[in-house]
């Protein structure tokens, strides 16, 4: 609608076009790539510029054509200008009245001001003149007061009156003038009002006229514009119609061409179709024949299938009936089973309840039984306690009885030996030596030899070592008894010393500080005591085990070191006599099996001690658990008792007995000759009473007949089998003891 504006926009666009390449890469750029690009752009821009020139021409042409064409636009502009002018003129025309009144008002004001000024001047002059007159009059009043003559006064008063009247007349004149002026002003006001109304009328007229005019012209212009648009539209219509027709013609021509082409193509396609149809027909026939054959074959197959179907149907019907029957049966069975299940459920429930009851019962029972068991265990423990108590008591009793019997036996033996001595010395005149037997020194039951504790042994060992130099033999004899097991005391001592030196860590530090002031041996003793308590070594056996362990360990683990130090021992460690054990050889005469290799503890390297100790402790721990109950069991060793007692019988050897027998016979012979009153057989009914006289006789005769035989106490043992179990022994021993003696005597007599 607005060509200049659009043109301006186009120009702007052109400017934009021009400005765009400047923004792109420049030819003077440092980057070669950019330079190349810039040149390319420049080359591309050249034809574009040419095109733009053409375009510019076209634009100019377009502008011209637009000017030609847009009649409506021109018409619009024209009418717009015309209307604007009209409006402007109209408003001017209308406002002219206002301006005119304004200027009139200004003029009026000016005139008014002028008149006002004149009036004021007039009034002022009037005031002046009247004041003068008034002053004159007032001055004359003073004169009048001085006048004494009434005639003069009257005259003066008359003249005063005339003057006053003149003054008043002047004033009245002025007032009249002013009133006249006012009247004229009133008239003027009315005139002004009329004029104003006229003005307003004029204004209204002009406004109406203006409105009419404007309306008319606007309509006219509208008509013009419409006509212009109409014309333009017509032109446009005709031109576009022509264009349209041309395009239509071209279109129809092209359509025709296409139609012809199409017809040709259709004909070609029809031919092809016919060919295809014939070919397809033949094909179809062939296929039809083949398919009919196939159909026949298939129909035959169908018949066969039908027959098999019939057969199958019958079979299936039969099966069906069978199955139906079975189904019925199964339903019957099912109901039965259901009933059974119900019954079983009932029983199951019953059983469950019973089971629960039983569980309860058994639990109760279990509780009662456990309580019983507890009670029994308690009883058992009490019983054990009692048993232990009784065992101790038994031992005591046994020991007491043993001692008693032993005492009696020893009494008898001493008597016998006394007799023997007497016989030997008095009757035979032979020197008599008291026999030496091990059992003579024995006191108390053999099995009840007290076990020594490890510390005691230690003490002994150490003490013994102390005294080694002086009382070697004696102490060794003792030590032999104490250490019966293959190890010499010295070895033991050395091992212990080594142990003591090496395992100081087992001793408490406080103890060490306490030990410092003590003697060497005591120090060792206390130290070892502490070590053993730490290692858990309590008894003698444990100690020996330890020592043995040390020795064995050395044997098994350090043959190489032995070879170096002692090549001899390396050959046969079991049987070889030790170089250092030479002293012991004399002691161990009685027991050659003890001659065992006692390797030097010196060969045990001090560093090995800890390893050995560790291994020993590991080994010791295992048996320790089982040893406690074993200890509790008190096993009485009866094997040596009989030996002991039998040995007691042989206190008087057979040789002496035969001697006695010979003596006896000699004495009998001797006795028979002087008197035969005294026959031992008479007194056989009461041994005690018989013994008394006999003893007395013997005693009485002792100075005379030294050869009165005494029944050997050894014969006592030849009586009926001894009952070694404690209680009966004591009761039996008395009478049994005497009877064999008597028999002995009898047998001797018979001999």
């Amino acid at each position: 609608m607005n060509p200049p504006g659009s043109l301006g926009v186009l120009e702007e666009k052109e400017e934009e076009h021009l400005s765009t390449p400047i923004l792109g890469p420049s030819i003077h750029s440092d980057n070669p790539q950019k330079r190349i690009q810039a040149r390319r752009l420049r080359i591309a821009a050249r034809p574009e510029g040419r095109r733009r020139e053409v375009l510019g021409e076209y634009l100019d042409g377009k502008k011209e054509s637009e000017e030609d064409r847009s009649k409506s636009y021109r018409q619009k502009e024209e009418s717009r200008l015309k209307l604007a002018k009209l409006l402007l003129c109209g408003t001017e025309l209308v406002t002219n009245i206002q301006v005119a009144t304004d200027i009139r008002e200004i003029h009026r004001r000016v005139e008014e001001e002028e008149i006002k000024r004149q009036r004021l001047e007039k009034l002022e002059s009037e005031v002046k003149t009247s004041q003068d007159k008034f002053d004159e009059i007032t001055a004359k009043w003073e004169e009048g007061k001085q006048k004494r003559i009434p005639q003069d006064l009257w005259d003066m008063l008359n003249t005063q009156q005339v003057h006053c009247a003149g003054l008043i007349e002047d004033k009245n004149k002025l007032i009249g003038e002013l009133q006249q002026e006012l009247k004229t002003k009133d008239d003027q006001y009315v005139k002004d009002l009329k004029k104003q109304s006229d003005d307003i009328c004029l204004l209204l007229e002009r406004m109406e006229e203006q409105v009419k005019n404007v309306m008319k012209t606007f309509r006219q212009e509208l008509n013009y514009i419409e006509k212009a648009f109409e014309v333009e539209r017509q032109e446009l219509l005709t031109s576009t119609k022509k264009k349209w027709e041309r395009a239509l013609q071209a279109h129809s021509a092209k359509e025709l061409e296409y139609l012809m082409n199409r017809i040709k193509k259709v004909e070609g396609y029809e031919k092809q179709l016919n060919k295809q149809r014939i070919w397809d027909w033949e094909d179809y026939n062939m296929i039809k024949i083949r398919l009919e054959q196939d159909v026949q074959v298939l129909e035959q197959q169908l018949q066969q299938m039908k027959a098999t179907y019939q057969l199958n149907q019958e079979k299936l019907e039969y099966n069906c009936q069978v199955l139906k029957k079975r189904d019925e049966e199964s339903t019957v069975i099912k109901s039965q089973q259901k009933r059974k299940i119900n019954r079983l459920h009932d029983t199951l429930n019953n059983l469950r309840s019973k089971y629960a009851q039983q569980i309860k019962q058994f639990q109760e029972e279990n509780q009662s039984l456990t309580s019983d068991y507890k009670r029994l265990v308690m009883q058992f423990k009490e019983l054990q306690k009692a048993m232990r108590h009784f065992a101790v008591v038994d031992d005591k009793q046994f020991r007491e009885i043993w001692l008693m019997n032993e005492e009696e036996a020893k009494d008898l033996m001493s008597r016998a030996l006394d007799v023997d001595r007497i016989i030997h010395t008095h009757h035979l005149g032979l020197p008599w030596t008291a026999p030496e037997f091990w059992f003579l020194r024995n006191v108390g039951p053999l099995s009840q030899q007290p076990q020594k504790s490890a510390t005691q042994i230690l003490e002994e060992v150490l003490m013994q070592a102390e005294e080694e130099g002086m009382e070697e033999t004696a102490s060794e004899a003792e030590s032999y008894l104490d250490l019966p097991k293959q190890i010499s005391a010295k070895t033991t001592r050395k091992i212990l010393m080594l142990l003591c030196d090496e395992s100081g860590f087992l001793i408490e530090s406080k103890l060490l500080s306490l030990l410092l002031p003590l003697e060497k041996n005591e120090c060792y003793l206390l130290r070892l005591d502490a070590i053993f308590s730490a290692l858990g070594i309590e008894s003698e056996d444990d100690l020996y085990k330890l020592v043995n362990f040390f020795l064995k360990y050395r044997i098994y683990h350090s043959p190489s070191s032995q070879e170096q130090t002692s090549p001899m021992s390396a050959l046969e460690p079991g049987e070889q006599t030790d170089l250092e054990g030479q002293e012991e050889e004399s002691l161990v005469e009685g027991k050659p099996e003890e001659k065992e290799a006692l390797p030097s503890p010196r060969l045990i390297h001090p560093n090995d001690v800890l390893k050995i100790l560790e291994a020993f402790v590991m080994g010791l721990k295992k048996p320790r658990n089982s040893r406690a109950p074993v200890k509790l069991k008190y096993v009485q060793d009866n094997s040596k008792d009989s030996e002991y007692w039998e040995a007691l019988t042989t206190v008087i050897p057979d040789t002496t007995q035969s001697l006695w027998d010979a003596l006896y016979t000699g004495l009998e012979k001797y006795q028979s000759t002087p008197n035969c009153k005294f026959h031992p057989r008479r007194c056989s009914g009461c041994p005690r009473s018989r013994a008394g006289p006999r003893r007395a006789a013997v005693l009485g005769w002792t100075p005379v007949r030294v050869l009165v035989p005494e029944p050997p106490p050894a014969r006592f043992a030849q009586g009926p089998a001894w009952d070694h179990s404690g209680f009966s022994r004591a009761a039996v021993i008395g009478p049994v003891e005497v009877r064999p003696l008597e028999r002995l005597l009898v047998s001797h007599r018979h001999d």
């Binding site: 607005n2 504006g5 604007a84 301006v99 304004d102 009328c201 209204l204």
Partner: protein, 499 residues
């Protein structure tokens, strides 16, 4: 009635207006009665007279049932219609409107009579059609466009104006106006009162003032008018206040007493406008406001939050009042100041010019028919060299001459905001005209330049007219596509402060 009585004494122009009014009224009647008859035929009318009509119709119908082939049940009124009629009939006692369906509401509103008391309708009915009927019934000429396009607003504003116009202090009950206040406070935005009646001993009805005015002797010199304070305080949306303290249509009963704007009036008015924070436009014209009263009013308007336009034209304001107005210019957001037809002379114009030099709000200044003379004119011209806001300046009839014209010519070359200058009825003279023409040749923004009756040569006036035409054309182009012409204007912008 009052209107017609008043118009009987009107002079010629008012008669013409009467004739137009008559035309309008008749046209309105015809238009209002035009659509009614068909409606009556469908719905039995609610009023009694119409009820009688329907009764007669019913009779006729009954008689003609047998023959009437076109009779059908559709003629029987629906229950909803009957209900609506009933609602309309009893609307005064039981106003039911909001509960109804929109369609029924519309029907009810169409049927309601415009005579219903305002207490019922004011806050209930928003329908423009109803209020339009009310307005057209009361006033033959209604310019809705002047009341924001709202008939309801128009009704209330004019109703209130009428009440105030005919309020006679001491005789009329103030409650008449104050009772209306809660009803109209939401709708009244403009109050345009061109008549304040003075209190009288023998209270003649205002309408009869014209008839028996000659008998009335207004002896009391202190005649205070209606106090607007309570009313304005109640109108929460009041934006425009247009007052004339005078009596209209007094004719030959003219008394100077009728046109007294007393000091009490002035003080109360000042307090009123100070309290009204929504006021945007305040006009007090033809009220004999002299310097002191103007100062009282303007003092109360200092730092007013909303005031934009102040019109004190056709008063008696002199230099002191003008100085006060100048102070107001720098202490408010005033955009339009009209001091036309006052007695401002050179000192007042100088103070105004001083305020104008640094003002950024004022767009229009009217000093028509004052007497600022060349001194004031030169001061204003100097101020315009720095001012960047004023667009309209009216200096018509100010006894200006050549020196002012030369200065204004310089201003024209520099200033880019002025669009309209009026120098009519001055003594610019031929040389002044030429200088103005020179100044005009450099100006591209001025659209109106009135030089009528100012002793300027025809030729230069014509050439100035040509330049104005060109400017107008340019402005039109600018308005049509602002984007294109924006850039040159923007480019020009920074040059101006330098020059």
């Amino acid at each position: 009635m009052q209107e017609t009585l008043a118009t009987s004494t009107l002079s010629v122009p008012s008669r013409s207006s009467i004739s137009t009014q008559d035309k309008f009224s008749t046209a309105g009647q015809t238009s209002s009665t035009g659509p009614r008859p068909p409606r009556h035929s469908i719905v039995p009318p609610p009023s009694k007279s119409k009820g009688w009509n329907s009764g007669t119709k019913f009779h006729q119908m009954r008689r003609t049932i047998a023959e009437d082939t076109e009779w059908s049940l559709a003629i029987v009124p629906l229950l909803t219609e009957l209900c609506i009629q009933h609602i309309v009939k009893n609307f005064q006692n039981n106003p039911l409107l909001k509960q109804l369906l929109p369609a029924h509401q519309q029907k009810v509103l169409n049927l309601l009579s415009p005579d219903l008391p305002l207490a019922v309708t004011a806050n209930l009915i928003d329908d423009e059609n109803y209020w339009r009927r009310c307005c057209t019934q009361r006033w033959p000429v209604c310019h809705v466009a002047k009341h924001g396009g709202s008939w309801k607003r128009l009704f209330f504003e004019r109703h209130l104006e009428n009440l105030i116009k005919h309020f006679i202090p001491g005789t009329t009950d103030p409650a008449v106006i104050l009772d209306l206040l809660p009803l109209c406070s939401n709708y009244v935005r403009r109050l345009r009162v061109d008549q304040f009646l003075p209190p009288v001993q023998l209270p003649p009805p205002p309408g009869e003032l014209s008839d028996s005015g000659s008998d009335v002797e207004l002896e009391e010199p202190a005649t205070d008018h209606y106090q607007l304070r309570d009313l304005v305080a109640g109108l929460s949306h009041l934006e425009e206040l247009d007052l004339v303290y005078g009596v209209k249509d007094c004719g030959m009963n003219f008394e100077w007493n009728l046109f007294l704007f007393t000091y009490r009036d002035c003080h109360s008015l000042a307090a009123t406008i100070k309290a009204c924070h929504t006021l945007k436009i305040f006009r007090l014209t033809r009220s004999k406001v002299d310097d002191d009263k103007a100062r009282i009013l303007i003092r109360s308007l200092l730092d007013h939050p909303a005031l934009e336009e102040l019109d004190l034209s056709h008063n008696l304001i002199g230099d002191r009042g003008a100085r006060a107005a100048a102070k107001l210019l720098s202490h408010s957001h005033l955009r339009v100041l009209d001091l036309a037809n006052n007695q401002v002379r050179a000192p007042g114009a100088q103070s105004l010019a001083h305020a104008l030099a640094h003002n950024t709000n004022l767009t229009s200044l009217n000093l028509r028919l004052n007497c600022i003379e060349d001194e004031g004119g030169q001061a204003l011209a100097h101020a315009l060299q720095t001012n960047r806001c004023l667009t309209t300046l009216h200096l018509g009839g100010n006894d200006l001459s050549e020196p002012t014209a030369t200065l204004l010519a310089q201003v024209l070359a520099v200033n880019t905001t002025l669009t309209s200058i009026n120098l009519s009825c001055n003594h610019i003279g031929l040389d002044g005209g030429k200088q103005l023409l020179e100044g005009m040749s450099d100006n591209k923004t001025l659209l109106e330049f009135d030089l009528r009756l100012s002793d300027v040569a025809q030729e230069s006036e014509y050439l100035i007219g040509q330049a104005l035409c060109a400017n107008r054309e340019a402005a039109r182009q600018r308005a049509l596509n602002p984007s294109h012409f924006m850039s040159p204007v923007m480019a020009k912008g920074p040059e101006n402060p330098a020059g």
